[in-house]
């Protein structure tokens, strides 16, 4: 405890455990691939474990898809696209999406618990954010299915065909919804590969597709590691690739798509600046900084991982920030009191710890707060790195963990330059009471999503995506739909 921990009351600040029950969920011990409406074993028979990162227990064995399985899934998707999904009246397609939205909402508790068990995120977040937003994405896009001609007046629109989609482990079901909902609404069928460490809610979603009577082959789910993802990107017969993940993998996907005339959207890494001016509402800013970087253990591509604070308020702001961080509960993801859950995997924890070492070698001062982490499982306490330079690797590179670097600035121009001086451009934050300054800074930031006096807000109607090396294209809202449609001017007919 530090002297600045004003909120850390005398003695340990204990909460009685409030664990969410796991009694109402059903998990099979094994899952096959979801291809053409059926769960089937992989051709090779290979499987891998899905592990609970908070307990290191194996939750289920999951089939590992190879290129033969991927080819079968793409063929099933093609068949479904041409025979069923595209000939169907758009309003009927929409009804299936409404069904998926409703079914997800009805089973939200089960999905939330499995999401937290499989991925390590706090139940408070999977219950209040991930699952409701996933359902909302299906509901929003369901309504688009029979209204696509209004999206771009004067344009004729047509689906692309089979969409290959590869998603990350940080928001497993939500990223599935971001990918599948617009693709289906626009008349495409999909082959989706979940991340290796978080396959379970995607496979449960496959069962949901069966339950709502979605025609076979419209949604196919192939589980596996990076090799499965590469096989999907390389597969013959895909008409579109959508990927969310690291910038490194994104670049290799661009190279593999070169010359193949396959459109793509990529949501890649980020290193967002969260800029706090001296006139900001400081308590709100502190909440925003905490939400910006410690939401989902910092496993967020748009996380506000770089705090840029006006020099004149740096000391009081950091005092308040540390004091607030001390109240954060690090621990069991299924406990409803938990603020910071488990790091998603052993490998990711090692990566974060590597960066903490690099930061200290570069001269950074490290401070950690919040409750002590449990001994078992993969955990990282909320961390601040001060005394960092713009050129520090911990400032330039995405850490993808609960690690916030702190820099100061004196002028607007300095804040702007520091904010934009990374290869990334996904998101940014601005805290000030002055309206004209908000509009000036939000315009200057080279980033696709800018939160002013708020941070980490998401909505199905709101386009999301990056500038520069943070990605290509947008997902969500009107602008996101375009990524799943061909357009032609009506006069060309």
């Amino acid at each position: 405890m530090t002297e600045t921990s004003h909120l850390a009351f005398e003695g340990p600040w204990d909460y009685a455990p409030a664990p969410e029950s796991t009694s109402h969920i059903t998990l099979q011990s094994e899952y096959g691939l979801f291809i053409d409406g059926e769960f089937v074993p992989s051709a090779s028979g290979q499987q891998f474990d899905s592990v609970n990162p908070a307990t290191e227990d194996v939750l289920a064995r999951v089939a590992k898809a190879g290129s033969e399985d991927v080819a079968r899934a793409v063929a099933a998707a093609r068949q479904a696209a041409t025979q069923v999904w595209q000939p169907m009246a758009p309003a009927e397609r929409g009804k299936y999406l409404f069904r998926l939205a409703r079914a997800l909402a009805e089973r939200s508790r089960e999905f939330a618990v499995i999401e937290s068990m499989d991925g390590g995120k706090p139940i408070r977040e999977s219950r209040d954010i991930d699952i409701p937003l996933a359902s909302a994405h299906f509901f929003y896009h369901a309504g688009w299915a029979d209204k696509l001609q209004y999206a771009w007046p004067g344009q004729r629109v047509a689906p692309l065909g089979v969409a290959a989609q590869i998603i990350p482990w940080n928001f497993p079901l939500l990223m599935l919804a971001w990918k599948i909902a617009p693709a289906l609404a626009a008349g495409n069928t999909v082959v989706l590969k979940p991340a290796e460490t978080t396959s379970l809610t995607a496979l449960k979603f496959g069962q949901l597709c069966q339950d709502v009577g979605l025609p076979a082959g419209v949604v196919n789910i192939v589980t596996g590691d990076g090799a499965t993802g590469a096989a999907l990107a390389d597969a013959k017969g895909i008409d579109k690739l959508a990927f969310t993940g690291s910038t490194g993998v994104g670049k290799s996907l661009i190279r593999s798509l070169a010359g193949r005339n396959i459109p793509y959207t990529l949501e890649l890494g980020g290193k967002a600046a969260n800029i706090v001016f001296d006139d900001a509402a400081i308590d709100q800013a502190v909440e925003g900084i905490v939400n910006g970087i410690f939401f989902n253990q910092g496993h967020v591509c748009c996380a506000g991982s770089r705090l840029l604070v006006n020099e004149s308020i740096a000391t009081p702001l950091l005092d308040k920030l540390k004091s607030r961080i001390e109240t954060l509960v690090v621990g069991d993801p299924l406990d409803k009191n938990t603020d910071v859950g488990a790091i998603n995997s052993k490998a990711q924890l090692a990566r974060i710890n590597d960066y903490l070492g690099i930061g200290r070698e570069e001269g950074a001062t490290m401070w950690q707060g919040g409750s002590e982490a449990p001994e078992k499982g993969y955990f990282c306490r909320p961390t601040l790195l001060t005394d960092v330079a713009q050129s520090s690797r911990v400032v330039q590179e995405e850490i993808f963990g609960p690690v916030l670097t702190v820099q100061t600035f004196r002028t607007f121009a300095e804040a702007q330059d520091k904010a934009n001086n990374t290869p990334y451009g996904l998101s940014g934050g601005v805290w000030t009471d002055k309206g004209s300054r908000i509009f000036n800074m939000t315009r200057q930031l080279k980033a696709g999503v800018v939160w002013a006096n708020t941070f980490n807000k998401f909505d199905p109607t709101s386009p999301f995506g990056g500038y520069k090396e943070s990605g290509v294209g947008r997902e969500g809202g009107l602008h996101g739909l375009r990524a799943y449609l061909k357009t032609a001017t009506e006069s060309d007919a």
Binding site: A136, T247, G250, K251, S252, I254, R255, L257, A258, G259, L266, L268, P423, I438, T442, R443, K446, A447, G448, V449, V450, W451, A452, N453, T454, K457, D459, T461, S462, P463, F464, G465, Y467, K468, E469, S470, G471, V472, R474, G477, L478, H479, T489
Partner: protein, 290 residues
């Protein structure tokens, strides 16, 4: 034998257009361009990688001012380019013929290029409205999405067309407040540099448009791999060239846009699509509260 009483004409030196100036290539190299009509061959500058990098520095320095220039003013500047080109219509028709185009085609090219510029001048203050949105989020936030320029665009003009190919490689980018480094067609280097003179006389700020003449086979890989270029626009490249560009462009996730030369010449090119392909969408959130 020459007639000593005839006036000797003044031959024009064709140079590059970088940062609002007309320098020779730093490399000192040239390509002999043989005219289709009578006249001495022209020594066209063969730009180097270093020229391209210099042009990128000029273009990057011009981005903040140009992107802060109002759509209204950028529209007037594009209109001014059209106006200046109209005034030099006969010069360009003549020059296209010296590059080997017939009289009818030359006239069609220049007229179409002027009309194209006029078309784009009208988009500067409209494309933002057409492609923006206020997004009805379910929380208490005001949320809107607007297009913004990608920044620095490197473009390769179509060889299949004289002037319209050049305009198609420049106008969509600057309409949307990007800056451009454009590689002129190897078959039309003269009109490209004469067009730079038109730009120079049209209040286009220095560095907003830069035009190089040189060899596509030599420069293409540098256009594709430069780490400070945000987008690459390609016209009538071969499949191999395009694939190589896409691979090199991955290094900084450069956007690669292909222009279909079949859409040229004329205003049949979808102006909005061309402008929007060089824009990023920015979404801004702010709480609605007391």
């Amino acid at each position: 034998m020459s007639d000593h009483n005839t006036r000797l004409n003044v031959a024009k030196t064709y140079k590059l257009f970088i940062g609002g100036q007309f320098p020779r290539t730093e490399s000192g190299r040239y390509t002999k361009f043989t005219l289709a009509s009578e006249g001495e061959p022209v020594n066209v500058c063969r730009a180097s990688r270093k020229d391209f990098r210099n042009a990128c520095v000029a273009a990057r320095s011009a981005t903040s001012q140009w992107s802060a220039t109002s759509g209204y003013l950028r529209g007037q500047i594009l209109y001014r380019i059209a106006e200046m080109l109209e005034g030099r219509r006969s010069q360009f028709i003549d020059e296209l013929q010296r590059e080997g185009m017939d009289a009818v085609a030359s006239t069609g090219e220049v007229d179409a290029a002027i009309d194209q510029l006029l078309h784009f001048s009208g988009w500067t203050d409209k494309h933002v409205q057409v492609t923006s949105a206020v997004n009805p989020v379910s929380s208490a936030h005001f949320n809107f999405s607007v297009p913004e320029p990608m920044g620095l665009v490197a473009s390769v003009a179509s060889s299949a067309h004289g002037l319209t190919g050049l305009v198609a490689a420049i106008a969509p980018a600057i309409t949307g407040a990007n800056t451009v480094v454009c590689l002129a067609s190897e078959s039309h280097p003269l009109t490209a540099i004469s067009f730079a003179e038109v730009l120079h006389a049209s209040d286009v700020p220095a560095g907003v448009v830069n035009i190089l003449t040189g060899e596509r086979a030599e420069l293409l890989e540098h256009f594709a791999s430069h780490m400070d270029v945000n987008a690459l626009v390609l016209a009538d490249v071969t499949d191999e060239q395009r694939t190589a560009c896409q691979v090199a462009a991955a290094d900084n996730v450069k956007r690669v846009i292909t222009i279909d030369p079949a859409q040229l010449p004329g205003v049949t090119i979808d102006g909005l699509d061309a402008v929007s392909s060089l824009q990023e969408i920015k979404t801004t959130w702010h709480p609605v509260a007391n």
